[in-house]
Structure formats: C-alpha cells, structure tokens
C-alpha cells in the first residue's frame, strides 16, 4: 500500500495550487459579493485541460483519472468553492455519464464540445417535489416519430444558466416508477428549452444555479443516454462519482479555512502572545488537521477505486459525508478564531462557512449518505 501521490498527481497539485493562488484567490471575494460567474477562469481551466479532464484523448480530453480531477477540485475550493463546484459538476455529472453510458456517436459529438469546444455541462435531476426522493420526478418525455417531446422543469441546476449541454432525467413511462425514467442529452439550443429562475443562495454565489424549463422541448431520439428505463440507475451511478467531487470540494473548503486560520492566529496577539500559542487554539487545530487528513484518505480512496473500475458507492458516500460535515465544523471553528473580524466580509471566513453548508445538502444530503452507507453494510 503506497500513500504517496504519483509524480503526475504531484505536478497536478502544484499546477493547480499556483493557478488558484494567482488566478482564483484574487477574485474569490468579488465573485461571491457580486454573484458573478467566474467566466474568465473557467475559460482558462478549459485551456489548461482541467474541464473535462477525465475524457479520453480521442474525444478531446486528457484521459486523467478521477483522483486527478479530485485534486483539481480540492485545490480550487481552498480559495473559491464556487469554481470548484463548476468544475465538479462539469467533470463528474456531465462528462462522466456521457462517457460511461453514451453511444460512440454521442461521445464523438458531445465530449469534444465539453473539452476542446469550451462548452459547459450540467446535470438535471432534482424537481420541486423530487429531491432526496428522486424517483418522483414529473418531467416527461414522449416519443413522437424521430424525437421526444419533453415537458416539465428541473430546479437547483448547477451551471444552469451558463451550460450548453445537460444530462436530463425524464419519465418515458409513468406506469413503471423508477424503471420508467430515462436519461437524455439536451442542448440549451433545442427548441422548447429555457432557463427559469436564477436562485439567490446563501453561499456558492459564483456558481450559477437556475431552474430549467422544458416546454414541448424537442429532443432527438438519438439523444437518449443509455437504454430506455435505465435513467434512475444512470442517475444513481453518476451521483456516486459526483460525490467524490463534492467530497473534494468540501475537503478543499476545510483545508482553505484551516490555512487562513493558521496564518491569522500566528499574527493575532491577545493577552501578550499570538493566539496560536494558546492550547485551546492548538487543540482545535489538531482536530481540524486530523479531520482533513481523514477526509483526504477517504476521498482519494474513493477516487482511486473509481479509477480502478471497482464498486465505490459506499466509499464515495463516506467521503462526501465526512468531508462535508468536517468542512462545516472547520469553517465554523476557524471563523470563531477570527472573532469579530471573521464575521465581516473583510476576511474570507464567513464566505467559506456559507459555502461549506451546501456540501451537506447537494448531491445527496448527509441523511441520504447515511442511507447509502448503511444500505451497503449487509444489514
């Protein structure tokens, strides 16, 4: 068992850390304050091959493994969880299901768009009445000749108003329950596709979240992803992988908060010494560090298992659950170390704390992760 990163992974971490320091950190506060999609940085991430990095070379990507993608998301999220989220969604929830379940024609058409074509991808499963109970979606797709007619709406869609390619789940046979759900590749340019409400959120302000609406939306028959009726299983499988991305994002947020707090407490003098010298601060740091290390091991383990092609459902859920809860704890405690300053927008702590919260909710709440973990324990 070797816990060292490969030399390629080490270089990827170094490159991403430099990029984050030079390009992401300087605009992170502004991105949050203005709820601005970091378009220029996403373009740069396309140029560097980070967007769609796990797509094989023949379809425009670099053939990176899931661990490499997790490392990129982790590094970006240390300074800007919104940027990490955009990448995690694009790589894990759009490129991955097309690569895994797409036909050769679909892969040849869409994967180059999502890599060298600089088109952003998204994933549309959640509906107003179908959150954790994803099987209750009402969006419907009816076959009419050579195309499907899609009607309904999806909410809380990350990359919603900037994406060009969506992996969408809709009922093709309402009588069959989850076995009546199918997956589709939908382009934002298809007739009948529109973007609804832009969500105003507690955090992740740079990540564009929106409702998307299908009004007699025409989806070519050949855009069904996977077999008819296999949508629910494709969604669940995709979310397993997506959870590695969210684990990496949450881990990055926790590590970012920890780093900021270390710097701050070493310089902040109260009662005659830097507050980093007080045992209460040090014990808190010890817990934060230990939690980050555990999160890293869980996340990298899940990513490596995915790369090896073995089942990793439980491991991904554990990584996501651990890292998201640790991110919430760490940002809360790190903010506390900043005292009143931490509560102001002059420091990144309040943003990191707001950003951390969503990781306990999306791509399966903490409660759903516990369902997934226990369902895989032979109980």
């Amino acid at each position: 068992m070797d816990f060292n990163l490969s030399r390629e992974h080490q270089l990827i971490r170094k490159m991403m850390a430099e990029f984050t320091e030079n390009e992401v950190k300087p605009i992170a506060a502004e991105t949050d304050l203005n709820s601005e999609y970091p378009r220029e940085n996403i373009e740069k991430l396309f140029n560097l091959g980070v967007m769609g990095m796990c797509v094989p070379k023949e379809y425009g990507g670099t053939g990176a493994d899931p661990l490499a993608s997790a490392i990129c998301i982790e590094e970006l999220s240390k300074q800007c969880a919104s940027t990490g989220d955009i990448v995690a969604t694009h790589n894990g929830l759009c490129c991955d299901p097309i690569l895994t379940h797409g036909t050769e024609e679909q892969k040849k058409k869409y994967l180059p768009m999502l890599t060298t074509g600089h088109k952003v991808g998204a994933f549309a499963l959640t509906e107003p009445n179908a959150g954790s109970d994803a099987s209750k979606g009402q969006t419907e797709a009816k076959l009419e000749g050579d195309h499907y007619v899609m009607n309904g709406s999806k909410i809380f869609i990350t990359n919603g108003y900037v994406a060009d390619v969506f992996v969408v789940f809709a009922m093709t046979d309402k009588t069959k329950g989850t076995k009546g759900i199918s997956a589709f590749i939908v382009e934002s340019g298809f007739p009948g596709f529109s973007v609804g409400k832009h969500e105003v959120k507690m955090g992740l302000h740079g990540s564009p979240t929106a409702e998307i609406v299908f009004t007699d939306c025409i989806v070519p028959k050949e855009n069904m992803l996977g077999k008819e009726g296999k949508g629910f299983s494709i969604a669940m499988q995709t979310l397993d992988g997506g959870r590695i991305g969210i684990a990496a994002q949450a881990l990055g947020i926790a590590e970012g908060a920890l780093n900021e707090a270390k710097e701050y407490t070493k310089g902040r003098v109260q009662f005659g010494k830097p507050i980093s010298k007080f045992q209460n601060t040090q014990f808190t740091f010890a817990d934060m560090e230990m939690g980050c290390e555990a999160g890293r091991l869980l996340t990298y383990q899940a990513a490596v298992l995915k790369g090896q092609g073995v089942r990793y459902t439980k491991e991904a859920a554990m990584a996501k659950l651990w890292c998201s809860e640790h991110a919430m704890k760490t940002t809360t405690k790190a903010l506390q170390m900043f005292g009143g300053y931490g509560y102001t927008k002059d420091y990144p702590m309040e943003r990191m704390m707001r950003d951390a919260k969503i990781t306990e909710i999306y791509e399966g709440t903490s409660e759903v992760q516990r369902i997934v973990i226990s369902a895989n324990m032979g109980l």
Binding site: L11, M15, G49
Partner: protein, 266 residues
C-alpha cells in the same frame, strides 16, 4: 528550427536562505523554484513554438533533483530536457558555468536557424553574466534584456529594454537572447502536458560526456577552477523602519538637523 533555453533552479527567496560554511548556498536545505527570468525565456520559446512548430529544448546545470524542474518545463510544452550534472561541475562560478553550458549547447548543436534563450539573471547570484558569456563562447550574436521578440524568417526583431527607453535590434539566427519579465506571462503546466512529460526525452550530460569538448578546460571548472572566490555569504539584516518627519519646511529641517547632530553625524 529549434530553441535551446537555459534554465536554473534557484532557492525560493520567499523562504529562508541557508549558507554553507564555505560561503556557497546550501541548496539542499532550501525550497527551489525555476528562476523567474528563465520562466520568461521558456514562455518566449513556447510562444515561438506555438507560431512555428519549432522544437524547444530546456537545458540546466545542477544537481540531479533539477531534473524535476525540467519535467515541469516539459509539462508546460518544452519537447526535451538536458540535465548537465556532475560533481566536477559543482560550485562553478559564471566563467566556469558558461563554459560548461556552452559545451553542452554545442553538443546539442546550434544550427543556422536556431535560437538560444536565457533569463536575464538568476535571483540567487544576480550576475546576468552567464547568458552573454555563453554567446561569446559559442560565437553567437547576443541581444540582452529582450522585452519583445518577433521572428520573421531568419531575422529576429528584439525590443531591448534599457533604463531610459527601448532599443530595437534586428538580429540574424543563430543568436542568443536574454529575457526579462516584461516579455510575457509564463503559462502554467497543462493537464495534458503533465501526463506527457515523463514520456519526453531527458538526457543527462555528465563530466565524461563533456570533458573532452573543445570549450571545456577541466582546470577552470567547478569550485576549485572558478576564478571567483567567495569571501563571505550572509543574509543581510533587515533595515529598521525609517522615520518620517512631518510639518513645514523650516520646522522639519530644524528637526532633521537636531537629530543628525544628536547622532554626531553633523
């Protein structure tokens, strides 16, 4: 056409500087980076590669770990690396280093339409001598302080940045250019580049490989052969904070005079 870029791994001066008892830098104990001006030279070479499809070779002289720097530069887009490394080369000053690098570059081969690029100077020694010395030893025309480079056939037009203005020079290949930070913003490694870098060729030129080269005089290389003797190296103590005197002209002058008189300076 090919471009040979000379690069140096230098101590990261944002960290702590460590010095050996003999006065040379204790490089092993310090974090290293690629010399910043050399990064601009690499970027200039990669831009010409983007335009012309030419080959870019990165060359460094240093201890074996310097190979990792070459891999990073190849992950940015350079095609191959040459590590010039031998105990006999250790401790070389600029005179000795330029001999060895000139011999290494000559071994790689400089043809009619080739260009050699260097950073202006390294942040550890700040001499700015190695680039020009290599040019002299290889009999190449040289243009230093390049702030802009345009290639048009066998001519290269270089905008040289001087203290009080610019000088535009047209030079024929083969030639040597030294680059400054105003020239460009170095690119990052790319994911694709990182996955390719360990499959790219990296050669090591050791003492055996270079010792018989006509440009090498074994008695004038390495620490012993270098004409430069380091008397003392140290981290200068940080200067104390300055004092600002405020008020109208006469008042501040009187105050200044009394402070200077108090220190027996006047």
């Amino acid at each position: 056409m090919k471009i040979i870029v000379c690069v140096k791994q230098v101590p990261d001066t944002s960290g702590k500087v460590a010095v050996n008892p003999d006065g040379t830098l204790n490089r092993a104990s310090m974090q290293t980076i690629t010399n910043p001006d050399d990064m601009n030279a690499v970027e200039a070479a990669l831009k010409l590669k983007d335009e012309t499809g030419c080959k870019v070779t990165v060359v460094t002289m240093g201890p074996p770990p310097a190979a990792s720097m070459l891999r990073e530069l190849m992950a940015m887009g350079a095609d191959e690396g040459v590590l010039v490394s031998a105990r006999e080369f250790g401790g070389s000053d600029t005179y000795a280093t330029s001999q060895i690098l000139a011999a290494a570059i000559d071994t790689i081969g400089v043809e009619k339409d080739d260009v050699v690029m260097c950073g202006r100077q390294a942040i550890d020694g700040d001499t700015a001598q190695v680039g020009p010395q290599i040019a002299e030893k290889l009999n190449l025309p040289q243009v230093t302080y390049a702030a802009d480079i345009h290639k048009d056939g066998e001519n290269i037009t270089v905008k040289r940045m001087l203290e009080d203005g610019y000088m535009t020079i047209k030079v024929k290949t083969p030639c040597l250019l030294t680059c400054i930070k105003e020239l460009n913003n170095p690119r990052y490694m790319s994911i694709g580049g990182i996955y390719e870098t360990y499959n790219k060729p990296l050669a090591t030129f050791d003492f055996e490989k270079l010792k018989d080269h006509k440009l090498i005089d074994p008695s004038t290389i390495g620490l012993k052969g270098s004409p430069t003797n380091i008397f003392k190296s140290f981290t200068p103590p940080q200067k104390g904070a300055g004092m600002m005197l405020e008020g109208d002209g006469k008042e501040t002058c009187e105050k200044l005079a009394s402070i200077l008189a108090g220190k027996h300076i006047i």
